[in-house]
Amino acid sequence: MSQTAPGHAVDISVLVCTRNPRPRHLERAIEALRAQTLAPKSWELLLVDNGSDAPLAARFDLSWHPHARHVREDDAGLVPARVCGIRESSGKSLVFVDDDNVLNRDYLERALQIGAEQPHLGAWGGAVVGEFEETPPDWIHDVRGLLSLREVPQNRWTNLPVLKAAPCGVGLVVRRRVALAYADGVSTRPLRRRLGPRPGELTGHDDFDLAFSACDLGLGMGRFTALVATHLIPPERTDLAYLERMQECTAYSELLFWSIRSKRPPIPSRLRLFIDHIRSLGLSRVRRRLRRAELAGLKMARRDFVQGRFE
């Protein structure tokens, strides 16, 4: 396995951050990278092992790629893993891939093309389709956002900090200076590290925090129809109890996210939470449980906000 020569800046660094991955999923993710139409000489691959119990370096062979290497970060959490990957990388743009993300064959090529055509963009991504190991329940469509599934009917981009155009973490592409600004930002403001999931936690808003870093620099972010990735979803992730926990964590981290990024975060009043709780009685069973979980997350975030833990 050769290291990227010092001083050699490739176009793209692909960072796969993982901790105790499902071997079959990570293999699929790596196979998809191997099949990329973009010539391997113009990109590097970093597999960041975030303290897996059995080190991945021994188990996953990256020798097929001329610029690939294993990196280990023992500080557990997606944010430290990403920061480590950013510091180790040399690409002009960085593509973040999770251990259950399968990029379309032309993903890197098109990502590069979009970046060249739109120099004002700092962070971009695309559509995410789900591949379920078992047929999911009918209501899964209601929670596709929780599973990072994204439809992109048309290109959408802006340099304004709005979630509507923010790419999610699956195949997220950022320019190097955006990544560096993010890495510096999370080290100086530890609260931002809390946006990322740590072991045992489910989801966070660190993807959006990273994408919004583009806007901090006056650059834009966007979602593009040309970029498509597949998210591999095992049966336990479509379990209602799991999704309830995820909904709760997401609601919490969204409020934390806006508390960090906005002067006027949308902290709900207790009356509002109460009214919404009553209203949830009118929903169907599954929706009610998910809505209740969301309200629980908001309530917890509200409490932490009031107690000054978001400062």
């Binding site: 981009w157 802006t158 834009g220």
Partner: protein, 301 residues
């Protein structure tokens, strides 16, 4: 500079001293005269504008008479007459900064994906207004800007207004075609004393219809001249009402979702307005009235 720009100046019975400033702003553009043409649309003024406006300093300037009253009609006529690749809309009370056309050309080149754009609009009052007027200065098309803001979809902050609105030719043509197909959209702008005010937004959103972006750029600056009559509470109240009205009508005309507040919600809104100080209360109620008017509006016929 490669692209021809068409400056479309729409006017109806202008205040002569404002019109002079507007023309002066155009005359002092640093862009070479052969890179832009000037089309003055005289929208049925009582005294033909050509009588007191000297355009002889620009060989590519001409006056066109548009007999049908209404800012939208005047703009449409301007689009038909224009030969440029970029159309720049100027009102008879907007003064472009000297580098406006140069910067517009630069933006057009640097941002091929943006179809409609504008800049920062500063207000210049004929008389110092009372302090509360500044709270409602957006009704006087004053638009502050802290940084470039752009977007491929309508987002507050990135939407250019009519004062110094620049669009690509294709966007102008799309607007022309859209209004031909849906004539009710002609009523979104002021007509005589009616103050409809969303025609410029409708035009800018045609960029979005073409999957192009919209934006506002710091490099572009215009001054909006504001006479004393526009800083009275009565005028601003009326402008507020029309604004709310035409916003709803625009959303409906474009097939966008419109929130229809329940009766209870409306009562709560009115009750809340009652707690505001007198001026804000009147402005708030004007807004609620305009919104309701827009929701109840059943088209021009």
């Amino acid at each position: 500079m490669s692209r021809l720009q068409s400056v479309i100046l729409c006017t109806k019975d202008p205040r002569p001293h404002h019109m002079r400033r507007t023309i002066e702003g155009l005359r002092t553009q640093i862009a070479p005269k052969d890179s832009w043409e000037l089309i003055l649309i005289d929208n049925a003024s009582h005294t033909p504008v050509a009588e007191f406006c000297d355009l002889s300093w620009h060989s590519g300037a001409r006056v066109v008479q548009e007999g049908t009253v209404g800012l939208t009609n005047a703009r449409l006529r301007g689009i038909v007459e224009a030969r440029g690749e970029i159309l720049v809309f100027v009102d008879d009370d907007t003064v472009l900064a000297p580098d406006f056309l140069v910067e517009t050309a630069r933006i057009a080149d640097a941002w091929p994906t943006i179809g409609a754009w504008g800049g920062r609009v500063r207000g210049e009052y004929d008389h110092n207004p009372e302090t509360w007027v500044h709270r409602y200065q957006s009704l006087l098309t004053i638009r502050e800007l802290d940084r470039d803001r752009w977007s491929s979809f309508p987002t507050p902050g990135a939407i250019p207004c009519g004062a110094g609105l620049c669009v690509r030719r294709a966007v102008g043509q799309a607007y022309l075609a859209a209004l031909e197909a849906q004539p009710s959209r002609r009523l979104l702008d002021r007509r005589g004393t009616l103050l409809g005010s969303c025609g410029d937004l409708d035009l800018a959103f045609c960029a979005v219809d073409l999957e192009l972006g919209i934006g506002r750029f710091l490099a572009l600056e215009v001054v909006h001249l504001i006479p004393r009559s526009r800083t009275t509470l009565t005028y601003l109240e009326k402008a507020q009402e029309w604004n709310a009205f035409s916003e709803v009508v625009l959303r409906r005309a474009r097939g966008w979702t419109v929130d229809r507040p329940s009766r209870a919600r409306r009562m709560i809104e009115y009750a809340r307005a009652m707690r505001l100080p007198a001026i804000d209360r009147r402005m708030r109620i004007a807004w609620l009235r305009g919104q309701q008017g827009g929701l109840d509006y059943r088209g021009p016929h």
